[in-house]
Symmetry: C2
């Protein structure tokens, strides 16, 4: 039986360059990516997410990042663990994430 | 007097990472960027632009790329010359364009 808390994630082979670029092209989404570059974070503790942001907006940000294959969003007890899919992005698009994270 | 055929272009210092990523995040815009990586092209001869595309759609693609600072669009006689602002993007976001152009 499928765990209802498991969200679908594209495989490494299915990552699409334009979709990854789109996911990174929004300041709020990019702030989350920069934050997760330091390591996985529980969603509730991710300080790159504005605490005043409506829940629906936050869910949408996470959905765009997850569906593009930029982050993993996995159940962890009663919380959710967010992590950057750096290895997958580096494997498919070498240098891309590095240049984006290095840019001011 | 300002030449009415001169369109505004952001300066190198004014390029914004998220705006550049957005400009690159669309397959039709990315195809034009890849094409211009080989050298400047007259808009009328740019075979990366679908000839069946409505003029308004084509104008919008060019506007997004120009306003993000990804391409220059300059009057050249009765035509327009399109060129990739590779030096400006490389100076501001080292490695970004290279990784995007190298990706399959």
């Amino acid at each position: 039986m499928k765990d209802p808390s498991e969200l679908p994630h594209p495989s490494r082979a299915d990552l699409k360059l334009t979709q990854v670029l789109f996911a990174l092209s929004d300041p709020a989404r990019l702030a989350i990516v920069r934050h997760l570059a330091a390591g996985p974070q529980e969603m509730a503790n991710c300080c790159a997410i504005d605490p005043n942001m409506p829940k629906s907006t936050k869910s949408h940000l996470m959905k765009v990042l997850r569906e593009a294959g930029v982050i993993r969003n996995e159940a962890k007890g009663r919380n959710r663990l967010l992590s950057l899919r750096q290895d997958d992005i580096d494997a498919r698009f070498p240098g891309l994430l590095q240049s984006v994270l290095a840019a001011e």
